[in-house]
Amino acid sequence: MDTLNLLASGFAVALTPTTLMLAVAGCIIGTMVGALPGLGPSNGVAILIPLAFSFGLDATEALILMTSVYYGAMYGGRISSILLNIPGDEPALMTTLDGYPMAKAGRASDALVLSGVASFVGATFATIGLMLLAPLLARVAYLFGPAEYFALYLLAFSTLGGIASNNQRKAALASCIGLAIAMIGLDNSTGMARFTGGNLHLLDGVDFLVAIVGLFAVSEVFVFIESHGKSTAIGVKIDKITIPFRDIARTSGTMLRSSVIGFVAGILPGAGASLGSFLAYMGEKAWVRDKSMFGKGDARGIAAPEAGNNAAAGGALVPMLTLGVPGSGTTAVLLALLMTLNITPGPLLFTERPDVVWGLIAALLIANVVLLVLNVPMVRIFVKVLSVPPWILLPGVTMVSFVGIYSLSGSYFDLVLMILFGLLGWFLRKLDVPTVPIILGILLGNAMEDNLRRAMTLSGGEWTYLFSSKIAIGFWIAAVLGFLAPILLSRVITKPKGHVEPVGEGTASMDSTPSPDDGTGARGRDSDGP
């Protein structure tokens, strides 16, 4: 078996002491990042990337560290959902529906263990799915020419918009802002300066790490100042961790079904973990006959979204690695990491850098086991993390962001640009404009334009070339449908209202339904979902 050989070589990379240590460290940091409301996967990963560079990690090591953080954050998000009824990150929103009632009923530890096991099932399923599916998809991606890639990017923007916001005008606007920012700097093919206003710092373009850290992390400070850091520190005590074997056995079918749903949702470009957990919960509710306990602490209502969200997190890595199209905010941040490391995701990655791909897959399998240990027997440690008050957390996050960006470039200009992006992020969030499409635009803008120009060069300027293959036409149709579907569906289905303001991954707020306290409380971060 070819796959097994490759996986074995992956384990050879992942089992060196350094990488193993990084995976464990990433899992611990990730779980904390996920658990803390106000710090989600996308901004958590974003502020750590510059530090990973300064630390001098090589490509594989940096990727393993960051994806461990990413997986860890997906596990950690549930902790505050269950204990505080505040999702630690956006995909954990659905877990509040049954997790918090169960905790209120005195079964907090059961809920934590059950959701930890469900996360493990979902994430492991998705990692195995990634292992089997990604090489196949990479082979298909060889068939893609510039016209197909252009249509694929368009598809990513249109579906991301649909999920990230309930206002397609604003989502499309956000994509355009990102694309417009990406155009700044020297034009790739002619070498002419564009939109620099004569500023020398802008010739290289806007560094996407600066934009990401600004939009995701620095903007959080403004959000918390506005809300006066409504304290999330509530004395939560967990006496003893017991394992609810009966609930686990009873929900094993739920976990598997939800893993499949979540994984598929994660693969869709632009969709991500929030969609995964949402669909898994809704799917489970439709599947079971006795729905009376849903919303009141049903074990299946905890297992489904957690398995779905973690499976989607793994699924979102598939398009990111094989096509270079991130499925969500956090995978967009991971794509930024790859691009900064000079690794071009895409089919060639699988043939030219199998060490990176298979090392990553093996590391993710190991990380899952580590996370299961951290999140079941040792979950009490992370419960303590919840008592870090925002007035310590947010200044800390800001200082780490500054030092990270400063250590990357050492320029005042980038720091000030980061602050301006932070301010922009706060304004946009107030206006319900999602910020993930902006990041995606900055990341993909140049590639999108290059592919358009290459396609036109190939065809001698004939625009119909963009629709000349079946694959391209398929992407165009999917893009149009993906863009229109939320507009049509929103008339039919009303999205479930969380009873809490979304905290954490935010913009992709599924429930960006303006709630009375959206003003102060739109702490929804962006993203991510993975």
Partner: protein
């Protein structure tokens, strides 16, 4: 109202963006698309979306009150000052001040804010310097002679 204003700002910005795209110099080796088309396309779509936002705005947002605006302005000033102070003044002093002031803006209690500033400044310095090995200066370089 805020959506209409925001839409107007973006419409103006996209017109300016398209105008600026038209000024881009083309070189002799030009492909059929050239460096102008894509930005113009992006600017037009963006402007169109902004127009739609103006025509059909969302319900009015809840904007902060005057005191909160002051807090936000203070935070912005502190962050920009911090960006410029980090290099000449070293890590410890600007970080303690900036972290303390930010903490105070989030939760207006003076003693915890001071402790947060001092703690973060010292703690992060140790982590950055000795765990991550970043080359940071603790204090202004002049003090070291």
């Amino acid at each position: 109202m805020s959506d209409r204003l925001f839409g107007l700002v973006v419409v103006i910005a996209s017109v300016a963006y398209i105008g600026s795209a038209l000024q881009i110099q083309t070189s002799f080796m030009v492909d059929p698309v050239g460096p102008k088309t894509f930005p113009i396309l992006v600017g037009s779509i963006g402007g169109l979306c902004a127009l739609l936002v103006m025509i059909k705005p969302d319900p009015e947002k809840h904007w902060p009150d005057g005191r909160t605006w002051v807090s936000l302005a203070v935070a912005l000033t502190v962050l920009i000052a911090y960006a410029y102070a980090l290099k000449p003044l070293g890590f410890l002093i600007p970080t303690a001040l900036a972290a303390g002031i930010l903490s105070w803006q989030i939760s207006p209690r003076i003693v915890p804010a001071i402790l947060t500033g001092l703690g973060l400044s010292g703690g992060l310095f140790l982590i950055f310097k000795f765990v991550l090995g970043l080359s940071l200066f603790a204090v202004p370089r002049g003090w070291l002679g």
